[in-house]
């Protein structure tokens, strides 16, 4: 276990050093993403300026939820960047490279790349949280926990979808649609959705656990939302791991797509 932990830290360090070779590019990507998120948020500022409150959601609620989604996504992209193109790597046969090493393949693949702009999303998320006005240390603690769990849900969902590449051909396109879907759905107040759509957001595309539920947890410190969130995160994490490793076995048996004799 200890070895795996230090290995992960070493990978993150290597990515950081790599990025530091191009300091200005790194900085501009981070700042660029902060500005990008800010502009998207302007929509909500304009919207709530006109409509004041919709089904119990106001601007400060949006700040909070947006903060969680952005920060969670940012952490996932920055520390586990290859989650965004896992399907591509699989279909190109790149698993061979990682299989030759003694470290857990999934961890190794995911952490081998770092998306610099993710740090921008994370920074924006933190700023957004403070703009929501929750200044107590307890709230900050819940925010940190919320981000971690949100990121876990996001990562697990993606790993699950991207792992389909072990079985089908066009998993890359599907994956980009899935990324789109979960980010879009999680950036809207979940009181907007009812009935079947709400069910969808708690199951098939678990966007509720990326934004709304963690936000509720931070806002109200309710045990209910916390336990729900933990349950969702653990279930998805398990499902993702099992799916990936099943797929990896298939890959190793040679029945996945590209073969070079």
């Amino acid at each position: 276990m200890k070895g795996k932990f230090f290995f992960l830290i070493a990978l993150w360090k290597a990515n950081l050093l790599s990025a530091m070779e191009y300091r200005t590019a790194f900085l501009s990507q981070v700042i660029g993403m902060v500005l990008n998120d800010a502009v998207y948020f302007l929509f909500w500022v304009i919207f709530f300026n006109k409509f004041k409150e919709v089904r119990g959601w106001g601007l400060s609620d949006m700040f909070l939820m947006f903060g969680i989604v952005a920060a969670g996504f940012g952490i996932a992209a920055y520390l586990f960047g290859n989650v965004m193109n896992l399907a591509e790597l699989i279909s190109q046969g790149q698993m061979d490279y990682y299989l030759a090493f003694p470290q857990p393949v999934l961890l190794h693949v995911l952490a081998s790349r770092s998306i610099a702009s993710g740090f921008g999303d994370f920074s924006y998320g933190v700023i957004s949280f403070f703009l929501a006005g929750q200044f107590t240390p307890a709230a900050l603690g819940r925010f940190a926990l919320g981000i971690l769990l949100s990121a876990t849900v996001f990562l697990s969902f993606l790993v699950l979808v991207q792992s389909l590449a072990f079985w089908i051909g066009n998993a890359q396109m599907l994956s980009s649609q899935a990324i789109n879907a979960i980010i879009s759905f999680s950036s809207y107040p979940n009181t907007l959705f009812d009935g079947t759509s709400k069910l969808l957001l708690f199951t098939l595309i678990p966007a509720a656990f990326v934004g709304a539920v963690p936000a509720e947890f931070v806002r109200s410190a309710s045990w209910e939302s916390f336990l729900l969130l933990i349950a969702a995160a653990t279930t998805l994490l398990l499902a993702a791991s099992v799916t990936f490793h099943r797929g990896l076995r298939r890959y190793e048996s040679g029945s996945a797509l590209q073969i070079q004799i």
């Binding site: 070895g3 230090f6 990978l11 290597a14 030759a100 090493f101 190793e252 073969i259």
Partner: protein, 328 residues
């Protein structure tokens, strides 16, 4: 003590066969047709500790597939294999701690970082102590003569320098077995020689066994003591390199063109005439039986030479000859 034991290894790939066009796609959806490919077809061999074994064969012969099975990346369809006492596809992670790999097509060094940073990362991948790693880097840097540019970003190094660092990295965790897959692809003669010498050196110093796959016979010739020739998934030949050289790598192919017409029945003593055209001749001879000098002299005497090409037999030809012998 054998570090690799392979018996009756078989790997069959089935790929879906799909004919072109919309009809073909639909048909393959409803009733898929599979094409079976025998990538590895009943291979058995052993490799001793500290041996320098070469694995050659043309593209598609089954080399890469065999290597993948031995590293645990691929499961065989049937048969057994044991590497350093481990069953590769069952104990892949444990085995990975003791073997090193260099895939010529896929670099391991991080492009934007100095090689030394990748070395330290490898230290963590193989769970080595920091002190150990430092000492090891010092030793390898000297052995491979890479101290000068160890701290230069890899992207600024020449291909030869990069390859030396790549191969050095594969020795970091003191593996007992090193698997090199086409390591000198794209390198110039000097760079190739450098790498071969250093690998040989490591073999002598640390007794690291080396399994080298290549379709460049020169690699094998320079580095390996034993060679296995594999073709169509089967072993065609297994012997010492010295024997291979003695029997097969000594023949030469000569093509000449004359200004005058070549008489029918043209022949030079000690050679096999392969083809006689209007103005040209193609022949083959064994340098051990007929010296090059006499053949060239005879050819020059026979007419006014316009063009001459002398080449070594291709690997395909060597294999064909070996196959021919096996059949006979």
């Amino acid at each position: 003590m054998a570090v690799i034991k392979v018996s009756n290894l078989k790997k069959v790939f089935s790929s879906k066969r799909k004919s072109a066009g919309l009809q073909g796609s639909l048909r393959s959806l409803i009733r898929p047709e599979y094409q079976l490919v025998d990538a590895v077809n009943d291979i058995s061999f052993e490799m001793e500790s500290g041996e320098l074994l070469g694995f050659i064969g043309p593209n598609g012969a089954g080399k890469s597939t065999t290597i993948k099975i031995l590293t645990g990346i691929l499961f065989p369809s049937s048969g057994d294999a044991e590497v350093l006492g481990y069953v590769p596809w069952k104990q892949r992670q444990k085995l990975a701690f003791h073997i090193g790999t260099v895939f010529g097509q896929r670099p391991q060094l991080w492009y934007h970082l100095p090689a030394i940073d990748t070395f330290y990362l490898f230290g963590k991948i193989y769970e080595l102590e920091d002190r150990e790693v430092r000492k090891r880097i010092g030793f390898l840097a000297e052995a491979f003569e890479i101290q000068e540019f160890l701290e230069t970003p890899v992207r600024k190094l020449s291909l030869g320098q990069r390859m030396r660092c790549e191969v050095a990295a594969s020795f970091l965790h003191s593996p007992k077995l090193l698997l090199l897959d086409e390591p000198s692809i794209g390198l110039d003669v000097v760079a190739k020689q450098r790498i071969r010498d250093t690998v040989r050196q490591m073999n002598e110093l640390e007794g690291v066994g080396v399994l080298l796959t290549s379709h460049d016979a020169g690699d094998i010739e320079a580095l390996c003591s034993n060679v296995i020739i594999i073709n169509h998934g089967k072993i065609a030949y297994r012997d010492k390199v010295s024997n291979l050289k003695r029997h097969y790598l000594t023949s030469k192919l000569v093509e000449v063109r004359y200004a005058e017409q070549v008489p029918a029945g043209f022949h030079i003593a000690g050679t096999d005439t392969l083809k006689v055209g209007h103005y040209g001749v193609k022949l083959k001879f064994d340098t051990l039986q007929t010296p090059v000098e006499s053949v060239i002299a005879e050819l020059a005497k026979s007419g006014s030479l316009v063009d001459v090409t002398i080449s070594d037999p291709s690997l395909e030809e060597v294999i064909r000859v070996i196959y021919g012998e096996a059949a006979a």
